[in-house]
Structures are given as C-alpha cells and as structure tokens.
Symmetry: C4
C-alpha cells in the first residue's frame, strides 16, 4: 500500500533544502530508529484494524537523544514515511522538527503525560474495537482474572534485588481504568492524569467509546503490553457473550454459562 499513496519522492528535494538539519533527525538506515519503527508499527497496527481511517497514533522516545518522535494527526497510518514525523525535545516541550503540511497529533499532550508521569519509552494509541466494546460492557474499570496472558502485564511491584518489574501472576486480576471520552482528544489529559494517579501500576488506560492508550519503558515492551491487553479484551468480550464474567473465579465460569 504505502508506496502507492506517497509522493514524498517529489517533495523530498524541496524539503531537504529547506529543512536539512531537521531531516537528519528522521533519516537513518537503522530499522530500529524511532522514525523508521513508527512507520513499521503503524503498518502492523493498520492490518490489525487498530488505526484504520487515520485513527490512533504512536510515539517513541529515542533512547539516545531523549527526543520524542510523534506520528502526525489525521493521516493514513499505514502510509507514514520517516519524514512525516514530528520531533519534540521533552526538556523544552518545543518541536525540534515540524514536517511541512502536517499538524501535530492531538494525542501529543497524552503522550507527554505518559512520558513525564510514567517514564515511558513509547506510547501506543489504538481505536481497537475490543477496547471500545469493553468500555461499553464495563463501568470505570476493565477487569479480567485467571487467564495466562495476564502474566505479560506488570503488577507495578519491582524485584527488590534486580529492580526489575514483577508481572502479574495467573491468579491475579488485571484492572485497567476506563475514562470517559471528551470532545477534543487533548481534553483527555485531565482524566488520564487522574487515572495515572489512582492506578499507579496501570500500563494502559481505556477511553470509553474511543480506544486505548498503552505505554511501556521501551517500544518493545509497549508493543507487547498492547498485544497482550488487546488479546485479553478480545477474550473478555467473548466470555461476556457466553455470560461469563471475565473476572469470575476459576471454576465459577460453568455457573454462568447461559447455554
């Protein structure tokens, strides 16, 4: 797909002259460079039906420069090119690179809140239908318990010796806060910050009738958390459809089967 919508080849010459210094920030042959990785992940997310119709977004913090890379708003995510990226200096909250013809993502304030309050290395925002369905079924908290996949999610506790995150155990309950949506994405910041405050262990926040924000200490972790949580939300909807509360006790599921 990508190749057939982008006329960057034409634009690039102009850009290069105009903003050469800025473009160095997004030009790299390393597939793990944030500008390249955002493009790769957006393609994957697109084919997962998470960011179709220009929905969703993603941001990665460069581990070396500490600069924050952000996909632009209202664009076809599967067709992003490295030169489409905004780059922000978290020290000053100023853009050190602004692509012509795009406007900054409305998700930016939410991404920044995760970087600042959670020392995130990356933040993923999708319009996953599993998240939307869970936000319709559940109240202010998505809860699922006693499913193996829960073990991919951190509990919030750290190993006293290694200092590494300790993940949830099979017998734990995963709880993800659900906040109400607002007219403008940037207005979600208040609700997000309250959720971050009330759920110090949370690595994700579901936005009702909208989607989900997932973050992690690195882009690899954020990607894994997003996959695991989406798997659990998908499973929760299936359980609910059979009458089984997703957080019911082991063995209790049989009492709830409606068929």
């Amino acid at each position: 797909m990508s190749s057939c919508f982008c006329d960057k080849a034409i634009e690039r010459t102009a850009d290069d002259v105009a903003t050469n210094a800025q473009d160095k920030l997004v030009q790299s042959s390393d597939p793990k460079h944030p500008a390249n990785l955002i493009c790769t992940l957006c393609k994957l997310f697109y084919y997962n039906n998470w960011v179709t119709g220009t929905g969703g977004g993603i941001s990665i913090k460069d581990s070396k420069s500490k600069y924050i890379y952000i996909a632009p708003s209202g664009v076809q995510k599967e067709q992003l090119q490295p030169e489409d990226m905004f780059v922000m200096d978290p020290e000053t909250d100023a853009y050190v690179r602004t692509p012509q013809k795009y406007k900054p993502s409305a998700c930016t304030p939410l991404f920044m809140a995760c970087y600042k309050r959670r020392a995130a290395g990356a933040v993923i925002h999708t319009h996953s239908q599993h998240a939307v369905m869970c936000s319709l079924i559940f109240g202010n908290e998505f809860k699922i318990a006693n499913i193996e996949q829960i073990k991919a999610i951190p509990s919030g506790e750290k190993d006293p010796v290694t200092g590494k995150d300790i993940n949830l155990s099979f017998f734990d309950t995963l709880a993800i806060p659900i906040i109400d949506n607002t007219a403008h994405e940037e207005d979600l910041v208040g609700g997000l910050q309250m959720a971050l405050h009330q759920y110090p262990a949370a690595t994700a926040v579901i936005v009702r009738r909208h989607g989900i924000y997932v973050w992690g200490p690195s882009v690899e972790k954020a990607k894994v958390f997003n996959e695991a949580i989406d798997y659990l939300m998908e499973l929760a909807v299936k359980m609910y459809q059979l009458g089984i509360p997703p957080d019911c006790g082991i063995g209790d599921e049989k009492k709830h089967l409606t068929l």
Copy 2:
C-alpha cells in the same frame, strides 16, 4: 495472486499496436496514477472481503486530465491490471478508452452521479458484510453516535475561514441513508440521487442487502471515509448483538445490556 491469472504479457503486444493512443491513458510509472491506484486498492479491498467474487468496484477522477477511470465489471478485482481500465470524459460522458474483452461497470451511472452531484474525486463501492448486516438491522437510516471514529467523517459544514470540511464531533450522530436494492445496478441511480438530495452532508449511501457506496473529494479521503464507516458499521453490529442501540446516549448502553 495477481500474477498467476493474468496473461496480459501475451495480449499486450496485440493491444499496443491496436490501441496505442488509448493505452497511453493507463500507462504510468507513478503509483499514484489512477490506473495503478485502482489496481492497488482493489487488492487491498479483496483481502478485506469487500470485493470478493467479482463484487464491488472503484472509480477515480484524474486530478489533471479530469478523466474518470473505472474498473471493469464482473472481473476478479484483486487481479486487475492498468490496461483493464475504462476511461471516460465527464464532459461528454463518452469513453475515451475501452478495453477489449471487458464490459463497462454496471456501477458507472452511480459513480457519475457522485462525480456530478458531489464533486467527488473518487467513488468506492464494496459488498462489505457489515454494510449488508446494518441494512438488515436498520430501516432507512444507519445511525451511530458518540464513537470517536465518527470524527473521521465530514459533517457537511465548512470552516467559514479556511473553507475546509468540518468533521463530525464525538457527540454527534452519524446518519447514512439506506436505499433499497434494485434488480439492475444501474437502476439504483434514482434512489441514490434522492438520497443525495435528502442527505446533502452524506458521503456514503448503503444499499440494502447489497453493500455501500462511499465517495470523497480525493481518493485518499474516499479511502479513509470507507475505512471509518466500515469500522463503525462493524462496531454497530457488535453493539446490536449485545442489545445496545448504536446511537444510544453515553451511559445508556448499560441499560440495554442483555446479559
């Protein structure tokens, strides 16, 4: 797939001699050329189960020549080649290119109605099962409200300053007219034109037990509208299956949960 059904390589030599001038209209190395883009999009639509079994169709207006490119009828959409395209001059409604061995798309009159009454830049027609299911659940209007993805769809109003389209807000209700199907696709024109008249803001029309027509000022916009609307129709069916009216008020969903 594509490569294994088309023996164009053999036919081309013959064609080239016969209709060289016409073929210039569909030969371009630019992946954004309408003849190439239609092929790329039809492959994507095929793998989305939107145009299998020769269903659906697509048309793009060339922004330079103003000529209208149309995929032929009754062919395997995922295997289309640029030289399969019909090209029409909207000034005269005459074909300036007619591929041998294919018949014009039965969708042509509907595509033309969108170009003329809506100044469309492209029109997409799919047999999306989500559209068919919504046409069975809903009466003469598909309605969904208070879902973030709605914000990808234009409201019909324009910004007085910039003149740009203003999209729906999260708190709005998206309404898409549903017209009844006819024995012959071309006979849908009457219903389509009435819907265009009654819904001046509509960027799509659902055809009951058939599929959907989606258009936009450019092919990029038409693709985004089609993706966003399909996402919303898919979500609406899931909401309906849980007993939730897709256009119910925020917070009212809990009253409707059947489980």
Copy 3:
C-alpha cells in the same frame, strides 16, 4: 511458508532422471499452467482457513491437453509444489503422472464426477467453517435470497442468443444441495451424483459436517463461484444468529429480529 518445508531442491535431481517425461507435464514458466495455479490457489485457500490441516483439495483441467491435474491427499496445501501433482487422462481415467511418495486424493472420484456430468474446467473442495455451520443449520438445502452477491452464481439458464450462462437475479433464491457425509470421501460419489441429478443448475454441493465442493467451466469461474458462495454462507450464519431466515422476503427481516 512454502519455502521452509519443501526439500524438493534435493529430491528434484533424482526425480528428473527417473520420471523426466512425466515431469514435463508439471514444469512450466506460465503462472496460469494448472500445476502452478493449483499451488497458488492452495496458498490463498490456506490463508482463508479453507484448507488448513491438510484439508480440502483442488483439481484443474488443462484446456489444451484436456489432462486433469489433481493435488495429492493429506499434504499441507500451502506448501504444494508443481511436481507434487497427479495428472490423469480423462479418456482412460489412467494417471499419466504419479508423484513418488504421495497417494492420490480421496477427492478424485468426486472431481471426476463433476468433470463428466458438468463439463467442469476446475473443481474446488474446501473445509470452510461457513459451509459446515450452514450444514448444521439447514436441512437438505442451503437457501439464501435477495442478496446482491447471489448475482455471481449461474441460474442454470443460458442466453438463447449468446449461449452464455445467465446468472441469478437479486430477487432469486440460491439453493445449494446439502448431502450427508460418509466415512470415506470416495463414498460421497453416490450422494454427489444424486445431487447433480436433482439440481441440474447447481454449481456446488455442501457436504454436511465436512465442507463444500464448487466447480465451474474454468478455474477463474470456479474460484469466483467459491468466493461468492462462501461470502453468502458466512452472511447466512450471521443472519441466522440474529434470527433472520437467510431466505426471508425483502422487508420481512425486521419481523424476525430477536433483539
């Protein structure tokens, strides 16, 4: 996938010497050659979940030699190579090519029945879950009416002038016979032949709790019929889940909605 399971590269040398004349029948640079096309289609079918777990099969009649190409039995369909194909002479029902290490497909007698009683150009057999579900919901006939996609299926009537197949109209009802499964695939021939007799217009037969056989005058037509019928069976199950009889009259669907 394919490349990583097949060690044909090693085997080929041996084969070539041993059965060179036979191998000429399956070696072609033309992607439309039956031996190549079966491999391509089986990959597509595999990713559609139609032939996983070695299920299903496909056969194509070469329009020039009239020889019949058949995929072997009990193999991973997505990994087939041209040299894996059986080739049969329909005049003598004798194999003119038998690959070492494979046994003929148990579907062969059913494929041959379609070739002889229906002048088929290709026969597709899948384990589509939509076919299995419809065979559980319906009795001896799968019926669906008033859906646009029906128009991809021939009615059995021919145009008196052109002699071409006339397809079903939107207002028609598609009826596909459902036969009961047997312990051994070859024993399905009796049921298939009775169905072919009772349904002279049928281009497919559903096998209860098993899958579906679809044929057509050419491989392109058989592929299109299979896609269109699978789309209709998938839609029928969705309609049934909402309480709507798939063959109910236009407008009657609302009376049946259970929610």
Copy 4:
C-alpha cells in the same frame, strides 16, 4: 516486522567470537533446519494470534543430531532469529547452546515430557483463544464428533501391517484432556504427565484459561495436528453459541438449535 526490532547485526560479531562452536548449531542455509523452522513457524503463529504478547512457544527435535531446539521465553515470537535458540541434549538434559541475554523457556519441562513419553519430534504451545474458550465451556475433556476435520488426528491405533498411525474416522469422537493451569508453567508437568498417562492416544492437552500443547512425530505432523485441532475448537465454540453440543449425534443438531 522481524527486521525492525532485532539488532543482531551489531551483537553478532561479539557472539561469534565468544561462542562460535555453539553458534554452528543454529547456523544453516537449509530452511528446514530446526533453528530456521522455529523462526518461520513463530511468524505464522503470530499472525494467527496464537503467540502474540510473547505468549506460546515451540520446540523441534533435530532428526539427525537428536538435539532439541527451543525458542526462548518472554520474547516477541515473530521476531525470533536462529541465534536466539536454546539447544539441549536429551541424553543429558544439559544445554549444549545457551544464547546470551535470554532465559530458557518455562515450557521446557513440558516439551521434554512430550519428547520422552510420546517420542515427539516437535511440540507446539499456543495461547489460542479457541483453546481458552473451549476450556471455559468444557469440563475435563474437550469433545467433538462427526466432523470431517477430525480425520486429521491420530486415533492412537497403528496399522498392524505398515505400523503407521491410523487416524480417527468421521464417526469417531475426538477427546482432548483439559488440565487446570498452575501459577508457574513448569508446574504443569504433573498435570500433563497424568493426562499423557490417562489419554495414551492424545496428541494434545488443553490447559484451562491458558492455551494448548500439541505434539507429533515430526514438526510437519505437529503443525498439521495443531491446525486441525484449532479448526475444531473454533468450530466447537461456534456450535456451542448456537446451542449445539459439539459432540452431538449426526442429525441431533437440529433439536438443539436455540433460534
């Protein structure tokens, strides 16, 4: 995806010097080499939603060296590289290759149990949602009967003449034991061994609220069994949703239809 997360290119130089002898065990140009095949299959499983979020695992026994290759734990399965593999000598249960920076798979003791008690050639472990749903619907046994796809699964009996496995017939019932999950994957060994003892014919064990383990005499067979069983579990959930017991007698399904 793979290419954009792995920085092996940088690490490799260091590794090669350090553990050259060990690396020979995972370096091969043969796509069927266990180290390569594990990578290929994990990509396939990832796109089937079987091993997302670092879930699942796979192990293959090299038919020549008899060494056992095992994917590491807690890694993104779709991005595995041959040099990420652990290699164990089943004679001594000692690792003959241990990749730096990874920890052995928690599945290892379960894989070894299958190798030793079932003479397995490969073991596949997925977090298939169909397995989890079946473990919620069923008690201590998943049962499905009279479905063609069952014929891909061995019955446990062998042909007295050829000594080959005899598969289940269409009229048989497939029964797969369901064991309860434990806090730590390695603690599943007890339950697995009891199931292997009680179900001498079983080629798979479902772990409640977790996933499934599937094995076979070769990696090709294990892959086929896993695909066929996943197909049957998916179908069983669909049957259950319509009120049909997946193991009900032929013809009895109509009595159970809830609609």
